[in-house]
């Protein structure tokens, strides 16, 4: 389990409503979704499975970050 006091660690995954031309993965995978519901489901499942926190960038892109 990653430590809460250790801020290191890359972005685990990106879940976005945007198109591949707008958001691209560098070191982390990108999940392109079509609706808000799909985004919530996708982000929540990944979060529960690998214990990463979901952060809303408030532009349709969510970052999944290990804490």
């Amino acid at each position: 389990m990653p430590s809460a006091m250790d801020p290191s660690g890359p972005i685990y995954a990106i879940v976005t409503l945007k198109s591949p031309s707008e958001v691209q993965g560098g070191i982390s995978p990108v999940f392109y979704v079509k609706s808000q519901e799909e985004q919530e489901r996708m982000a929540m499942w990944i979060s529960r499975i690998v214990s990463v926190a979901v952060h809303d960038m408030q532009d349709g892109t969510w970052l999944l970050i290990p804490i």
Partner: protein, 321 residues
């Protein structure tokens, strides 16, 4: 005391010293909400260590009086030994900490380990004081007075040790108050004016609003004002609260981790705590905040603190700045 033969052994000072030293260690040993040391294994090892330190302390002065200088140097050995006790405690607690939901944090762990080391020294000190008094009384006034002097010195040393053993609690340095949790800009979790974190999942936001409890911590003393700026101190607060009321989270639910953060946008010097407790008992949460140990490592130089100054103004306190 001719060379070649051993000098007579002074059992009264040694016995009284050991008794008082062990008593000092046992009286300081309590496993409460901190769940540490564990019972019975932790108790056995710490009482044993306390006994050893009491023995070393108790024989120190009789050995000197008997011109057994080599025996007296064993005190040095003891110090090294207790330092290693601290290191063992640190590594043990750090290892446990890696697999707990709400971690104690490095500062708290160092504090606990240091306390264990210190209590062995206290046991040793009590034993030394007792045996010195008993030995001197024995040499000048006889056996009966040795018991009396040793007993009085032992009780006095025990009182001093018990005063020294207990550190301060946060309750004397801060004021804790329940405040409503709310979200700003859709996803930023606030308690009062303190921003805690960004919660991305809408379901998690609902959970925080429905079951979360928020506490705002305002310093009432300069020590408190400095202490809550320490990350270790705030982690200790979160850990203490979580260990007393539980935290409704698990692996896979990182957004439910209880957090204690400073009020940064305003910089008022207040801290905020957010937790989703198992036992929804606000009074107990406040008590938990107040009885969090004030960490020795959480010390800062005197700071100009708006929150503290406002509190002092409201309560007409002049702390002589």
């Amino acid at each position: 005391m001719s060379s070649g033969s051993s000098p007579p052994i002074h059992w009264i000072p040694i016995g009284l010293g050991i008794l008082a030293g062990v008593l000092a260690r046992i009286l300081a040993l309590r496993s409460d909400y901190r769940h540490y040391p564990g019972y019975p294994a932790g108790y056995v090892s710490h009482v044993t260590l306390g006994f050893l330190s009491a023995v070393i302390g108790a024989v120190f002065f009789p050995a000197l009086a008997g011109k057994e200088y080599t025996a007296a140097t064993f005190l040095v050995l003891a110090a090294t030994n207790f330092t290693s006790v601290r290191k063992i405690e640190v590594s043990k607690l750090t290892a446990i900490d890696k697999f707990t939901l709400v971690q104690r944090g490095a500062g708290y762990i160092q504090g606990i380990a240091q306390t264990f080391e210190e209590r062995n020294y206290l046991a040793m000190g009590v034993a030394v004081a007792t045996s010195v008094a008993a030995q001197l009384a024995d040499m000048y006034f006889g056996h009966t007075w040795a018991f009396v002097a040793g007993g009085i010195a032992g009780i006095l040393a025990l009182i001093v040790a018990l005063v020294l053993k207990s550190g301060k609690r946060l309750g004397t340095e801060v004021e804790a108050k329940i405040e409503k949790l709310h979200f700003e800009k859709e996803s930023l979790l606030y308690v009062g004016e303190v921003m805690l974190m960004e919660v991305g999942l809408p379901k998690a936001r609902e959970r925080w609003l429905k079951e979360g409890v928020g506490v705002v911590i305002t310093p009432t003393t300069r020590r408190g004002a400095g202490a809550i700026w320490s990350l270790s101190q705030r982690q200790a607060i979160a850990q203490t609260v979580a260990s007393l009321v539980g935290t409704r989270g698990d692996f896979g639910y990182p957004e439910r981790t209880p957090l204690c953060r400073m009020d940064l946008p305003q910089g008022h010097g207040q801290a905020g705590l957010g937790i989703i407790p198992v036992a929804h008992d606000p009074q107990r949460i406040l008590d938990a905040v107040r009885q969090t140990p004030l960490l020795e490592s959480a010390k800062f130089a005197a700071v100009h603190d708006p929150a503290l100054e406002q509190w002092e103004q409201e309560h007409h306190i002049d702390q002589g700045r």
